[in-house]
């Protein structure tokens, strides 16, 4: 059985350059803006390469549904949506899409561990995340944007949560994968860490990798997240 790779895309050239000219462990350029919505308590816009995410935060405000409020801490609600024009093909993703609900829950649990919710019992903090342009690493960019929006709203947090995605291209671990690299079929590992303590708050993976590769990948992703923190801090 002969396998011929006639039209194999070179995701990582022998010299170490990826399709967009980056090196394996190079992050994309990050641009961010705080306070983009005048009505929201806090808002932020982040661009990681071509991935563009906007987040609005409302709260702490009175719980809309009394039964959903907790007596000793605030409830964080996350609405994670993707605009229909975000990808190459126009597709309208419903709010009750299973993947959307999963991602919303993931982000909610991530921030519940960082935001000091015990200061605001019986109230809710709403996070509205929308992806305006999707070019890979969408979950990581959303978490970074949400952190900035929470800072803009003055909601106290234990640490600045920063996230980054790691992947594997041609057998080499790489950082901050974009859409084409995401569809290459390799594993994708978004990781969110607390930069000061190094603790990992979120780690998600949907494929199978051997253990030593996983160790390298997760370490790379954590270092990447810390680098994101340094970039955001200097801005």
């Amino acid at each position: 059985f002969v396998c011929s790779n006639m039209s194999r895309v070179e995701y990582l050239t022998p010299e170490g350059y990826r399709l967009d000219g980056r090196k394996a462990t190079e992050l994309r350029r990050i641009k961010s803006r705080l306070g983009v919505f005048s009505r929201a308590d806090g808002s932020a816009y982040i661009e990681q390469g071509n991935t563009k995410v906007i987040v609005a935060v409302y709260g702490p405000r009175e719980a809309a549904i009394r039964s959903k409020s907790k007596h000793d801490h605030a409830v964080i609600n996350v609405e994670f949506t993707q605009a229909p024009f975000a990808t190459g093909d126009r597709k309208k993703k419903g709010k009750s899409d299973r993947r959307t609900i999963e991602d919303s829950l993931l982000i909610k649990q991530t921030f519940e561990s960082v935001v000091l919710t015990s200061l605001y019992p019986r109230s809710q903090i709403d996070l509205y995340i929308q992806i305006l342009q999707s070019d890979g690493s969408v979950l990581a960019a959303s978490i970074n944007a949400a952190t900035l929006a929470l800072i803009d709203a003055g909601i106290p947090m234990r640490d600045m949560l920063c996230a980054c995605t790691a992947g594997v291209l041609n057998g080499t671990p790489v950082l901050d994968i974009n859409y084409i690299e995401q569809n290459a079929g390799g594993p994708e590992l978004p990781v969110a860490v607390l930069p000061h303590s190094g603790g990992v708050v979120l780690l998600e993976m949907n494929s199978r990798v051997p253990l030593d590769l996983f160790e390298r990948l997760s370490k790379l992703a954590c270092d990447g997240a810390k680098a994101v923190y340094n970039l955001l801090q200097s801005e």
Partner: protein
């Protein structure tokens, strides 16, 4: 005396998670925006770290729009509901506040104030903690009115908490300049609400624009801005 490593961070911008000092420095009193986490003292909000030498007190000065009720704050609330013994006011915080009907100067059971739903009231926060709805009074600590009470006519607008604090300072430049140009009365709530009243409605509009613009301007730029808007 200020511990050496913390001294370097005072008046500098901090982000959540930034370690400001160590618990072992026992002379530290920590205030809003700072928590103790294991043996470190870390900032939880993004802002400028301030230190008050007279009180030996650290806090993070940040600017946000959402008001969190605190005792002794003077706030402007809008009446949302009326009950026999109290009013429910909206302060812009996560919970509505209660204002007892007898919490006014000279109020007795027979002689209670008549405030209708939707009107504005300038009051003082008496009780505020995270577990309870805040409670207000319309008197000073002596029991006299001292300017608290219903705000009749005029115009109310919202602003950031930082701008409200700036307006409440005794040396607020923009209010001094405006006072030289026109006659008006103003009430500033620590919950980011400002009420202006003037005999001429144009003055109210000009004053509103001046105050909103002055937030991100330096003092020397203010006279020119006011002159441009008054013309």
């Amino acid at each position: 005396s200020v511990p050496a490593d913390m001294e370097s961070k005072v008046d500098k911008y901090v982000l959540p998670g930034d370690v400001i000092g160590l618990i072992s420095d026992l002379n530290i009193r920590i205030g809003p925006g700072i928590i103790q986490s294991k043996e470190n003292i870390t900032a939880t909000k993004a802002g400028i770290l301030r230190y008050s030498p007279s009180h030996k007190f650290y806090w993070v000065e940040n600017n946000q729009k959402r008001y969190i009720p605190a005792t002794e704050d003077m706030v402007i609330g809008r009446v949302t509901d009326r009950f026999p013994d109290y009013y429910k006011l909206d302060l812009g915080s996560s919970a509505p506040a209660t204002l007892p009907s007898l919490a006014f100067e000279g109020a007795t059971k027979r002689n209670k104030p008549e405030i209708s739903v939707g009107s504005l009231v300038y009051s003082r926060v008496l009780i505020a903690n995270k577990d309870m709805d805040p409670e207000l009074v319309c008197t000073g600590s002596t029991g006299k009115a001292e300017g608290f009470g219903e705000l009749v006519s005029g115009f109310m607008f919202t602003c950031t908490l930082g701008l409200a604090r700036k307006l409440l300072q005794s040396d607020c430049t923009i209010l001094r300049i405006l006072g030289q140009q026109m006659s008006f009365e103003i009430a500033v709530g620590m919950n980011g609400r400002v009420w202006i009243n003037s005999p001429d409605p144009n003055n109210v509009i000009v004053a509103y624009n001046c105050i909103i613009n002055s937030e991100h301007m330096d003092d020397p730029q203010l006279p020119h801005m006011v002159k441009t808007l008054m013309a």
